[in-house]
Amino acid sequence: MIEVQNIKKSFEEDGHRREVLHGISATFYDGKTNLIIGQSGSGKTVLVKNIVGLFKPDEGHVLYDGRDITVMDTRQLKELRKEIGMLFQGSALFDSETVLGNVMFPLMMFSGMSDEEQRERAQFCIDRVNLTGSEAKYPSELSGGMQKRAAIARAIALNPKYLFCDEPNSGLDPKTSIVIDELLSDITHEYGITTIINTHDMNSVMGIGENIVFVNKGHLGWVGTKDEIYDVDNDDLNNFVYATDLFRDVRKYRLVHGYNPGK
């Protein structure tokens, strides 16, 4: 479980400090797909970067099963990071390595396994994300969806306790997005990982949102589940959820027929 307590973060801009996060608190649970949602520029990515320790918050604490990342020294942070997997928006696969090389990389650096064991584990992860047969391909030879799957395989190679995904569906078609969402959801439940997904894709929210944290202009806007999100009396959240005609139609349909697409 990851607990975020009153996180504040500001940046220097043209000689002035601009506050991006205004004291956000939230809890992200084990074995659940936790989603951070919000409009572009709302502070989602800054929040995730504070949680994983790429940014240091101005105030507040981030507790990984009770361990506060904001007060850790370099050695402790390094140890904790071995328990973290991350899927980046652009996949961030190493261009010079094949799919197998990318997945084996964290194993080679940290596992202490023999070459053969590393290869077996990497192959298992590649098979798990349905990329069998693409082991020898380089990232430039893969489609966007395949790159995301390879990045997921790399992220889970060391059996992480915490998995972070930054916009996992960006640049993907709706069908491939569903495949990625389902894969993330399956992996989360299968291994009991604390998964935090940063997204503004409403299809993901409705598909896999078990614990949703809505960030609005750097403030905590709402917390709930995909089943609750349609009936919230929150203008900012409703503006976000019903931004498209499709979801406005869903809302009208629901009011008439009581249909809930999240179920």
Partner: protein
């Protein structure tokens, strides 16, 4: 304002170097990357070095011959002057200025692209010291291979002068060879090798720093690549003066 900015950049550069100075996480991986960099930065540059050195050696010989018309000067002065120019300046300083364009831009754009595509963030998230992981093999690799490059450059340049003597007969081959052997000071070779080590460090570390600190997209990567070459060139010239004063005077 400019002074403050320069000091700020220098401080960041020093911090980057301090980060790079960490002990590698995995020696096996480090040596793999180190040998790859020696090959990529050094061995791959040899064709360019051979071509440039051959022509510069030939040009030096021709130009010195054209400018030494005084009958009081011996004919072997052509070979002697060519050798001194090549040993003292061309094989280390000018060669490194040329290489900073090829190697420096290569390093800066490679690391810069890794930065903007979040590959460096991925390394950081894994708990890897990304600065040391990426830059240290490049810095040490270039420092290792540079003296060999300088020796190849010296030999090829002198051979270029020899070749022009054979092909054009501006000076007899025997006179040229006599000239390059006359009043030979071994320290000049060591001087060139010492300078090349410093320049190799400057090229690789400055390019790595510019690449590592890129923010933005492809335009910024291109700018960082250019800036790294400009800064490397300036630093090579500054240190050329300092080292010449320290080691030769």
């Amino acid at each position: 304002m400019l002074i403050t900015k320069s000091l700020d950049s220098f401080g960041r550069y020093c911090r980057f170097l301090w980060q790079c100075a960490a002990v590698p996480e995995k020696w096996r991986e480090f040596f793999k990357r180190y040998t790859d960099e020696i090959y990529k930065l050094g061995i791959d540059s040899i064709p360019l070095i051979l071509i440039v050195s051959l022509f510069i050696g030939s040009l030096c010989t021709i130009l010195i011959k054209l400018n030494i018309n005084n009958p009081l000067l011996p004919r072997y002065a052509v070979g002697l002057s060519t050798r001194e120019i090549i040993l003292l300046e061309f094989s280390s300083s000018i060669l490194c200025l040329i290489l900073s364009g090829k190697i420096g831009s290569n390093i800066a754009s490679e690391i810069g692209t890794m930065r903007v595509t979040e590959q460096i963030d991925a390394l950081d998230i894994m708990g890897i010291n990304s600065a040391s992981f990426l830059a240290l093999p490049k810095i040490l690799g270039l420092i290792t291979i540079m003296p060999f490059i300088v020796i190849i450059c010296m030999a090829t340049s002198l051979f270029g002068g020899y070749l022009i003597c054979v092909l054009t007969g501006i000076v007899t081959v025997d006179t040229y060879i006599y000239g390059i052997q006359t009043a030979f000071i071994e320290w000049y070779v060591w001087f060139a090798l010492i300078k090349s080590l410093v320049f190799a460090f400057l090229i690789a570390s400055i390019a790595s720093y510019y690449g590592y600190t890129v923010q933005g997209g492809s335009v910024e990567v291109g700018k960082a690549s250019t800036d790294s070459v400009v800064m490397s060139n300036i630093m090579i010239l500054v240190w050329d003066v300092i080292l010449t004063k320290l080691l030769l005077m």
